[in-house]
Structures are given as structure tokens and as C-alpha cells.
């Protein structure tokens, strides 16, 4: 049940991000919804689920858009895994810390992509990417996280109850 609903949610978010948000966006900057979902999974269900769903999401992205199969997969997988550690210290009802951690994950993710796609090609202009890509992405992801994280949190706690009853 949990796996089914989460997979469905993942597909919906992926489709939203690549179709509607890719076309209808503000200033050409797309919020990173996938990272919000993967982090939420990590927060609610721990390292293993974060890892598996991160891998799944990254792999789908790789097939359609990635320059290299496995690049996004490895990034999202480690984000899901590391955010799984947060499960232990997180209290329910606290929104500031998870959203902060989502932003931190997005920052790490952006830097990872910069290193893999640009730095290794010999592009050392980090400051440009920082001001033009990373900061706008962080802001838009932050706003999206404020709206979406409580919703994901609600879904996952509901699922947790169903899971416990079974």
C-alpha cells in the first residue's frame, strides 16, 4: 500500500515537473519538486525507502533528460539515504527544520550537478552558476517546499497509520 501510493505520488510529481512546470514557470526557473518528495520520504520512512525511491526518481530522469544514465540516480539516491538519518531527530509538527534540510539537500544537489556537468568540463565560473542558477532554484524550491511539504507529511503520516493497522 505504502509503496503503491508513494510510487504514484512520485510519478505525478515527475510528470508535473517535466510538463506543466517546465512550460509555465517564473523567469525560467523551475522548483525542484522531486527533491522535496524524496526528502519527505526519507524523513517519514527512513534511509531505505529514501534510498530506493531516490534511485527510482533519478533513473526515470536519467532515461529521459540526463546526459548520462546514472548521474541523477546517484544524486537522488544519496539525498534520500542521508535524509533518512533525519528521521531519528525529527519531531512531528515541526516544519522549519525539514524545510531547511530540503533546501540544504537542494544546495548540495546543485553543487553536485555543477561539479559533474560543468567543473569537469573545465568551466570554473562557479560564481555565475551560484547567482544565476543555484540561488533562484533554492528560492523557488523553498517556496514550493512550504506549500508541498505539509501535504506530503500529511499523506505519509496517514499512510503510516494504515501501515500500522495492517
Amino acid at each position: 500500500m505504502y509503496i503503491f501510493v508513494t510510487t504514484l505520488l512520485l510519478l505525478i510529481i515527475l510528470l508535473l515537473q517535466t510538463t506543466i512546470f517546465a512550460t509555465v514557470n517564473i523567469g525560467g526557473i523551475i522548483p525542484n519538486l522531486i527533491i522535496i518528495l524524496i526528502s519527505s520520504i526519507g524523513f517519514s520512512r527512513g534511509r531505505k525507502m529514501g534510498l530506493i525511491f531516490g534511485f527510482l526518481a533519478g533513473l526515470i530522469l536519467d532515461i529521459f533528460y540526463g546526459p548520462l544514465i546514472g548521474l541523477y540516480a546517484i544524486a537522488f539516491m544519496y539525498i534520500g539515504f542521508l535524509n533518512g538519518y533525519v528521521k531519528r531527530v525529527l519531531f512531528t509538527g515541526d516544519f522549519a527544520l525539514p524545510i531547511g534540510i530540503i533546501l540544504l539537500s537542494d544546495f548540495v544537489y546543485c553543487n553536485f550537478i555543477y561539479v559533474c556537468l560543468y567543473l569537469l568540463q573545465g568551466d570554473f565560473n562557479y560564481l555565475f552558476y551560484f547567482t544565476h542558477k543555484i540561488i533562484p532554484e533554492l528560492i523557488s524550491t523553498g517556496i514550493a517546499a512550504i506549500l508541498l511539504y505539509p501535504m506530503f507529511n500529511l499523506i505519509f503520516t496517514k499512510l503510516e497509520k494504515v501501515y500500522a493497522d495492517e
Binding site: L15, T19, I60, Y65
Partner: protein, 290 residues
């Protein structure tokens, strides 16, 4: 007879760190495989083709719908003003057109005389719709709704309007992945139409927002090239067909080595509003074999 001991069913699950280790290895293997060969893209594309592509096609209609509604509100006033302008332009263009038709007639006549068959006059193209774009802000690729079932293969050139957009890098039965020439990882061999000097058009994330593409390695000793010159794909490219229009020279400056020049160009295709593209079925490799 030995007594049957009922064993307790052990619920075995792999520890998380093993999962991490195995999946990391899988990722690294995938990266190496996709970097060196294209074994992976076949089966993975097949899976993608029947799971996500149908939904993307549907949702894309929704998003263009939303875009149209917002655009309608925004554009109402400007459309009226534009209409007036366009009417004046139509008159001007009709006159131009008549003159160009005359030129065209002359051109074909001269070509016949020289027995010069232009190789790419009758390009076999297929129209396709852009159904989804790259999920992040880092890389410029998109997916179109036609694939190998419609005769598209890897390395097919993609054009929109009059200009080059990019090329197909991956193809599934009903979709194809296109990497655009504005993408940071793409380099295209081009040439200045008027002088025939070759140059390298390389996409850059920095210029993507201002709708420009950078170019470099242009050897132009006589300083003949200036802003406004047309750039087309060159004959030495092994991926792009010769003579596809890329754009106009915007700025040009001599490099610090005093030998080559570099600058920016304005692409002919509108990369911000790609909705429908044309895919040329003929690839350069096939063309050279025929």
C-alpha cells in the same frame, strides 16, 4: 521417520547499507555503460515509452492550455497594435515576395544550367510536438512525441521555424530525446555563409537566458565577418547536415591569441517557445553513404 520441525519463517531483509552499496555500484555501472556503449538505452527507453510518455503527452496539452489562457490576457492589447503593424508589413512583404519569386525562378534556372542538384532541397521531415522538458535548470534537453516508429533515428537533425534546434540523441518507439544546441554540452560545427569560414558554435548556460549562443575558433584574417552575417551548419560536421541555418552573428571580437575570433550569435529558432519541431529523417551518415 524424523519428526518434521516446523521452521519459523524468517523475515529476511537486506540491511540498508548493502542496498546503498549495490545501487551505487549499479549507478556507476550504468554511467560507464551509457558513456561507452548504448546497450542500456534500448530496454530503458522501451520501459519509458509505455509508462510515462502517454501521460506526458496528455499533461503537455494541459500546460499549453494554461499558457494560452495567460497569454491571451497578456496579449490582447498588444495584438491589436501588432495587427496594424502586420498589415503594413504584409503589403511590404507581398512586394518583396514577388521579387524573391523572380529570384527563385532565376536560381532554379541557373542550377539546372549548371546541373547542380542541391542535395538538401527536398528534405524528408516529420513534424513532432515537444511533450516535456528537462526537469532542472541545468541542462537543456527535451522529449518529442515521435520516435523510431515514425522513422526517427539517433543523430537526426531537429529544426524549428527556419533554424537549427539540435539533434536526436536517444530514440524510443514513440519518443525521442533531443539535446538542443544551446545546451552546455553541445558543440556544433558551423560556417559563415558569405565567406565559408568555419567556426564552432558552443552552447552555454550563461547565455541561455539572453537567448544567445556563443561561437569561437573562427579564422577570419581579412576581417570580413561582422554582425548580421548568417551562420549555417558546415560541411565538415559529422552530425549535422550541411547548410542548415543556425542564426545571425550578434557580437564578434578577436581572441587573445590574435588568430581566431569568437562572439555570440542570435539563433533563428525560438528556444523559449518550442512547441512544434521538424525532424529531418535523413542523417548525415546515411546521406554520405547514398
Amino acid at each position: 521417520m524424523s519428526p518434521i520441525v516446523k521452521k519459523k519463517k524468517v523475515h529476511y531483509s537486506l540491511p540498508t547499507r548493502y542496498w546503498l552499496f549495490i545501487l551505487t555500484l549499479v549507478c556507476v555501472l550504468f554511467m560507464i555503460l551509457s558513456f561507452t556503449t548504448d546497450i542500456l538505452s534500448g530496454p530503458l527507453n522501451l520501459i519509458g515509452n509505455y509508462t510515462l510518455i502517454p501521460f506526458q503527452k496528455g499533461l503537455n496539452n494541459v500546460s499549453t492550455g494554461i499558457l494560452n489562457v495567460t497569454d491571451n490576457f497578456r496579449n490582447m492589447e498588444s495584438v491589436i497594435a501588432e495587427n496594424e503593424e502586420l498589415k503594413a508589413e504584409v503589403d511590404r512583404l507581398t512586394i518583396d515576395n514577388a521579387r524573391l519569386q523572380q529570384d527563385q525562378y532565376e536560381l532554379t534556372h541557373l542550377r539546372e544550367l549548371m546541373e547542380l542538384d542541391s542535395e538538401y532541397d527536398d528534405l524528408d521531415t516529420v513534424g513532432a510536438r515537444v511533450i516535456s522538458r528537462d526537469a532542472g535548470n541545468w541542462y537543456s534537453s527535451f522529449v518529442i512525441d515521435k520516435g523510431s516508429n515514425d522513422g526517427i533515428s539517433v543523430d537526426c537533425n531537429v529544426i524549428a521555424g527556419s533554424g537549427l534546434v539540435g539533434r536526436v540523441t536517444d530514440v524510443g518507439p514513440d519518443f525521442a530525446k533531443v539535446v538542443s544546441i544551446i545546451s552546455d554540452t553541445s558543440n556544433t560545427s558551423g560556417m559563415i555563409l558569405s565567406t565559408g569560414d568555419t567556426l564552432i558554435v558552443s552552447g552555454s548556460l550563461k547565455l541561455m537566458d539572453s537567448n544567445l549562443i556563443s561561437f569561437g575558433q573562427l579564422v577570419d584574417k581579412d576581417n570580413k565577418v561582422g554582425p548580421g552575417d548568417k551562420i549555417v551548419t558546415s560541411n565538415i560536421s559529422d552530425k549535422y547536415l550541411e547548410g542548415i541555418f543556425i542564426g545571425y552573428v550578434n557580437t564578434i571580437a578577436t581572441d587573445s591569441n590574435n588568430l581566431t575570433k569568437s562572439g555570440t550569435l542570435i539563433p533563428a529558432a525560438d528556444f523559449k517557445h518550442l512547441e512544434e519541431v521538424l525532424v529531418i529523417k535523413k542523417t548525415k551518415k546515411k546521406a554520405s553513404f547514398e
